[in-house]
Amino acid sequence: MFRLIKLLMVLGCLISDISIAHHSFTAEFTAERTVVLQGQVEEVWFRNPHVRYILKVQNSEGVNENWDLRGSPVVWLARKGWTKDSIKVGDIITAEGYPGHSNRKMLSIIRVTLPDGSMLVDRAPE
């Protein structure tokens, strides 16, 4: 089943959702483009100062890569109903976000689509 997992790269998307930055995203991520990844969750770090998921993704050459997904602090996500149980180890998810600079396999999460099709959005107050 895992063979079906594909890496999707979507460039130039204009995304209006906003997350709370508690550290310098300009130092780590680029807003020039967005990326969509589909993969299996390997690790879950639902902790402040920011949540972290390790996502195993198969690239276009069939090689597995681990991506480091970063999200807002727990307090912010929890207020939106995004809890430590929302994404579990083994889940197949689709994550969209801003990639790391210099092709680092990092992603600043904008939104995550869960196995049941529901969506979690990491964004700031109106």
């Binding site: 204009l14 995304i15 209006s16 959702d17 906003i18 997350s19 709370i20 930055a21 508690h22 550290h23 310098s24 995203f25 300009t26 130092a27 780590e28 991520f29 680029t30 807003a31 020039e32 770090w45 902790r47 402040n48 100062p49 920011h50 949540v51 972290r52 480091d68 602090p73 727990v74 307090v75 912010w76 929890a78 207020r79 801003y98 600043s108 904008i110 700031a124 107050p125 109106e126």
Partner: protein, 353 residues
């Protein structure tokens, strides 16, 4: 012959008049533009307000927004201002404002430039002369102390989030060696303190007591006491990143002055806040008691040539509460270790505090 003399005389007169008139027009232009303005920028989502300072140098103009430099171009009655900012997510972009100057007013249109997560549609801007009593805030303050108790959630109104500041040589020297992210206190669960904490978009709660206000910040679970009946800290109280704050109500505004600060950084960019810095915050409550607005001014001549200014607005929110905040620095340390950057981090220990 007389005719030739007359023509020569006329030409000389005209040239003299021209020479005199050019500097006069320049002086008139300078007096029309130089000085302090309150700049308002409006798009379809929000209103931003900031202090714009314009000065004439020997050969050109220079300008500052909220204490930080902006690019300015003036040609006759046309003006262009380019101001950097960072969005809520931390990405840096510019706002390009173009317009006209007429009768002590400026107005025009603006657009966002550069990649940002927080997209802004083109909008309009205007600027009027700052009045002595004008803090740039748009709300009408009540005449007396307001009831600011309660939980407040941030809006994205008012704040230009000016990115670069006007630094002294000492401030520049610090920033040059600062390494973003790795040197930032809160990524390793160390207090980032003031002024940053007062500007973050997390909720905070104000509790009123007889002699103090207590601010409970959700981010990093920080507590801050605003003393209303004493003017100085207890003997031997150490400096801290929350400092020592005294407050008073002045013309309907809660004015908070904070000193006894410990070193920290102003914002993600990493500019230094020194131990000798002081911070003045002025909080005002809307007439319906539902909106709280603040201007936050840092005075730190060691690092800043001009006072950095931030503005925030919050809405009263009885439908939320302050969540607990437990911080685990492993999300910072372990990736750094895995990336082989830990020795670099250790080597930089003298640069952190």
């Amino acid at each position: 012959m007389n005719n030739i003399k007359s023509i020569k005389s006329l030409i000389v007169t005209l040239m003299l008049a021209l020479l005199i008139s050019i500097p006069m027009s320049l002086r008139a232009e300078t007096s029309d533009i130089e000085g302090r303005w309150i700049l308002s920028l409006q798009d379809d989502q929000r209103l931003l307000v900031g202090l714009l300072e314009i000065e004439k140098t020997a050969n050109d103009w220079q300008a500052f927004l909220e204490g930080g430099p902006v690019e300015i171009n003036i040609q006759k009655d046309h003006i262009e201002i380019i101001a950097d900012s960072r969005d809520v997510r931390g990405f840096v972009f510019n706002r390009r404002m173009t317009g006209k100057i007429k009768n002590n007013q400026m107005n025009g249109s603006y657009e966002q430039e550069g990649a940002a997560a927080q997209k802004e549609n083109p909008g309009t801007w205007s600027a009027v002369r700052e009045k002595n009593e004008d803090s740039g805030l748009t709300l009408t303050s009540s005449a007396t102390a307001g009831d600011i108790s309660g939980i407040w959630t941030a809006t994205q109104e008012l704040d230009f989030r000016k990115y670069t500041m006007s630094l002294t040589q000492s401030g520049k020297d610090w920033l040059e060696q600062y390494l973003p992210y790795y040197d930032q206190p809160d990524v390793r669960c160390t207090s980032i303190g003031l002024p940053a904490l007062a500007t973050y978009s997390f909720p905070f709660e104000i509790i009123s007591s007889d002699d103090r206000y207590t601010f409970l910040y959700e981010y990093q679970a920080k507590v801050r006491r605003i003393w209303m009946k004493k003017e100085s800290p207890s003997e031997f109280m150490p400096p801290s990143r929350m400092g020592f704050s005294v407050g008073s109500w002045v013309n309907g505004e809660l004015v908070i002055k904070t000193s006894l600060l410990d070193k920290t950084i102003r914002d993600f960019r990493g500019e230094l806040i020194s131990e000798d810095a002081t911070i003045e915050e002025r909080y005002s409550l809307s007439t319906d008691n539902q909106t709280l607005t603040a201007i936050i001014i840092v005075d730190d001549p060691e690092n800043y040539e001009r006072q950095p200014i931030r503005r925030r607005q919050w809405k009263r929110n009885a439908n939320t509460e302050i969540f607990p905040y437990t911080c685990d620095p492993d999300t910072f340390y372990l990736p750094m270790y895995e990336d082989g950057e830990f020795q670099m981090y250790i080597d930089r220990t003298p640069f952190r505090f």
